[in-house]
């Protein structure tokens, strides 16, 4: 219903554009140069005022109505709902909605059916209201703007201002979303820290939240606080990230040097996109590559050397993750190496330095801050990576520095904590938020450091 309204408004906007343009041209008898603003800007102005307010009203309506409708229903059926707790009331409303608009219904009963009927009628009314409001807004906006179009009218300024407001709104959405996510992480983590003291979480060395409850029959609140130590996860994350960087940093950097300074144009035109395809492979594909090919291969080598390699080892996951982030390192480093002015290379070559001397002694030192920040971004990417480690590194939270053993990472544990059927207010699931918060803080710090380094680097050449 409302979908049609939106389509109608968009058509109206298109028509208004054309009408505004025509009127602007007509107002100066076709002598476009006399107009203050271009005809198209007058058209845009009319279109914005014909459709903009109405579309805004629809957005507001769709955000607000579900809440209002539910509260009206809750009000009308207050006698039926009086004896229920919060979850039951929510379930009642949910079922009523599902019956009215289609969806999966839990338990049907007469009261809910009555509520559903009420829901339907309320919704129909509110839909009519929004139609009426939108059309009135659209008509009055059109009329107002249409009467303004004249030779001297500054339509361009209005259009520019509206566009600016629109762009601001878009960036606000992005920022607010980020803030919302961070806040929800913080608040859920605080709930977790009410059950498990944060020092036990941060510094504990034992992690087995799957056995969080001492057993059936005990009170729901009884949480064993000593099994939420995140140190093994953190150590595992660091171990795998370290192995990954051990693979990615040299290979990526060398590849970047080759691409920027040695490769001919034609080689570069092919090699660079091909290298970047590596970044386009879904991580789950890397995951089964690690689990099915690389891990058994390492185990085979280990056996032939008399080493005991776990079938899910930190080494396999780290190596494959390293391969995954090679393109990050090489692509970012390639950019910073290319940014080193050619004049420095010429200066060095003019003194009789060879290509490799020039790169080692002039280009790389000049590009070093940028390369460091590329590495930091790659590290934060490696820390946040999930799929490869889920598939290849295992789930056992071993506190070990041996890359041949199975370890687990923060991200893997977040997955396992939230997979399955469980309440979202137990210490076990809330621990996922606390882990998420820690992960967020680490990657945020890395990104900030990387950005700072890049800024410092920029100052050198501008």
């Amino acid at each position: 219903m409302v979908g049609y309204l939106v389509v109608l408004l968009l058509l109206l906007a298109a028509a208004a554009y054309w009408i505004g343009r025509t009127r602007a041209i007509a107002s100066v008898n076709g002598d476009v140069a006399r107009l203050h603003s271009l005809p198209g800007q007058h058209g845009m102005f009319l279109a914005l005022f014909a459709a903009g307010p109405a579309l805004l009203a629809i957005v507001l309506w769709s955000l607000v109505t579900p809440g209002i409708e539910s509260s009206i229903i809750a009000d009308r059926f207050s006698s039926e709902l009086s004896g229920m707790g919060v979850p039951q009331v929510e379930a009642f409303i949910r079922d009523a909605r599902a019956m009215a608009f289609g969806g999966v219904v839990g338990f049907a009963d007469p009261a809910k059916e009555a509520a559903a009927a009420a829901y339907k009628s309320i919704h129909t009314t509110s839909t009519w209201i929004i139609w009426a409001v939108a059309l009135v807004l659209s008509a009055s906006g059109f009329y107002w703007a249409y009467s303004r179009i004249a030779q001297a009218y500054r339509a361009r300024h209005v259009v520019e201002r509206v566009l600016r407001a629109f762009l601001i709104a878009c960036s606000v959405v992005a920022i607010l979303t980020t803030i919302g996510i961070v806040l929800s992480l913080i608040f859920e983590s605080l709930r977790f820290f009410q059950q498990v003291p944060f020092y036990k979480f941060l510094f504990g060395t034992h992690w087995s939240p799957q056995s969080a409850f001492t057993g059936a029959g005990t009170e729901a609140g009884a949480v064993n606080q000593d099994i939420f130590g995140m140190v093994p996860l953190f150590a595992g994350t660091l171990l795998i990230t370290f192995i990954a960087m051990l693979v990615a940093a040299p290979i990526g950097l060398m590849a970047a040097i080759y691409l920027s300074d040695y490769a001919s144009k034609s080689v570069r035109a092919v090699a660079k996109p091909v290298l970047e395809i590596l970044a386009g492979i879904p991580t789950v594909v890397y995951g089964f590559f690690a689990a099915l090919t690389v891990a058994p291969y390492f185990r085979g080598i280990g056996e032939s050397l008399g080493l005991n390699v776990a079938s899910e080892s930190a080494l396999a996951a780290g190596v494959v993750m390293g391969i995954m982030i090679i393109p990050f390192v090489s692509s970012l480093s390639d950019d910073v190496i290319n940014a080193v002015p050619q004049s420095l290379r010429d200066g060095s070559a003019g003194l009789g330095a060879t290509k490799s001397e020039t790169i080692r002694k002039v280009v790389l030192p000049a590009a070093l801050p940028g390369i460091v920040s590329a590495m930091l971004l790659a590290v934060s990417r490696a820390i946040g990576e999930t799929m490869i480690v889920v598939m290849a590194a295992g789930l056992a939270a071993n506190l070990t520095a041996n890359p041949l053993e199975a370890v687990t990472t923060v991200t893997v544990q977040i997955v396992t904590l939230l997979v399955g059927d469980q309440e979202f207010d137990s210490a076990k699931t809330l621990a996922a938020f606390a882990l998420g918060l820690v992960l967020f803080c680490i990657t945020l710090t890395l990104n900030i450091v990387a950005l700072r380094v890049v800024q410092k680097y920029r100052e050198q050449y501008d």
Binding site: S343, D346, G347, G350, L351, G352, K361, V362, P365, A366
Partner: protein, 271 residues
């Protein structure tokens, strides 16, 4: 290093020749950039301990010719050089010639000052280090000091040798680049419009320096300034559209050129 060059000068004096020797010689030098031909059969001699100025309007091939002399065109993929260029009689494009060694003998100073983002000391020490010219730290210190002195920069920077070379003024940076080129004790120094990014005072300073350097080095300079060519050079070569128009003693070129184009150019009628 000082001693070496002085010995060289003495040797030359004792040989008793008054006319300057020919240090570098270009014979039928042509350059193509891809399909486009930038230089047409240029024959030009560079005489020892003289300043040879290359003048001509933009795009006339003078920088291209300059870059042939120490094979800097090698760094451009599409550039192709034909003809013969000799340094002390040796063909510099001979496959047996080591381009690294050639560039150590034929140094280069660029249009825009391009100090490395390193300390002043490291900038000058860069060349001697890569060529292994100094056996000890003290010897390296000596090379750095004498190079900076020859470039007339030492007194200005002696208290901040460890500060970044990019923090100097434009004129100082250019003199630092000259010091950097001198530090590898080249025989020839190529300068590609070394003053075009400098103000008049810094320009005067660099020109003075060029005149002093002539005692020990052979210099080839590309310039857009007629006055500069007249002030600093002994020989002038006029290029136009990839051809060498004429070449001769600077005095004659600026007072009584043979070619009408040279006359028009130096009197400002075109270019």
């Amino acid at each position: 290093m000082n001693i070496m060059t002085e010995a060289g000068v003495e040797q030359k004096l004792s040989s008793g020749t008054n006319a300057p020797l020919i240090k570098m010689k270009g014979e039928k030098v042509s350059v193509h950039y891809g399909e486009k031909r930038a230089l047409f059969d240029v024959d030009l001699d560079v005489r020892e301990n003289q300043v040879t100025a290359l003048i001509g309007p933009s795009g006339c091939g003078k920088s291209t010719f300059l870059r042939c002399l120490n094979r800097m065109n090698d760094t451009i993929d599409i550039a192709r050089v034909s003809g013969k260029i000799t340094l002390d009689g040796e063909d510099v494009y001979d496959p047996k010639i080591d381009v690294v060694e050639l560039r150590a003998r034929v140094g280069m100073v660029f249009q825009k000052p391009n100090p490395f983002p390193k300390s002043i000391y490291e900038n000058v020490a860069y060349g001697p280090r890569i060529h292994g010219l100094a056996r000890s730290k003290a010897e390296l210190d000596g090379i750095v000091e004498s190079s900076l002195k020859k470039a007339g920069l030492f007194n200005e920077v002696k208290d901040r040798l460890l500060e970044s070379g990019t923090g100097l003024s434009g004129g100082q940076q250019q003199r630092l680049c000259i010091a950097r080129a001198i530090a590898v004790s080249p025989e020839v120094i190529l300068m590609d419009e070394p003053c075009s990014a400098l103000d008049p005072i810094a320009t005067a300073r660099v020109e003075e320096l060029i005149d002093e350097l002539r005692q020990n080095y052979t210099i080839v300079i590309v310039t857009h300034s007629m006055q500069q060519a007249a002030r600093v050079s002994q020989r002038t070569a006029m290029f136009h559209l990839g051809y060498l128009v004429e070449e001769g003693a600077t005095d004659k070129m600026f007072t009584n050129p043979d070619d009408k184009r040279t006359q028009d150019y130096i009197t400002g009628r075109f270019g």
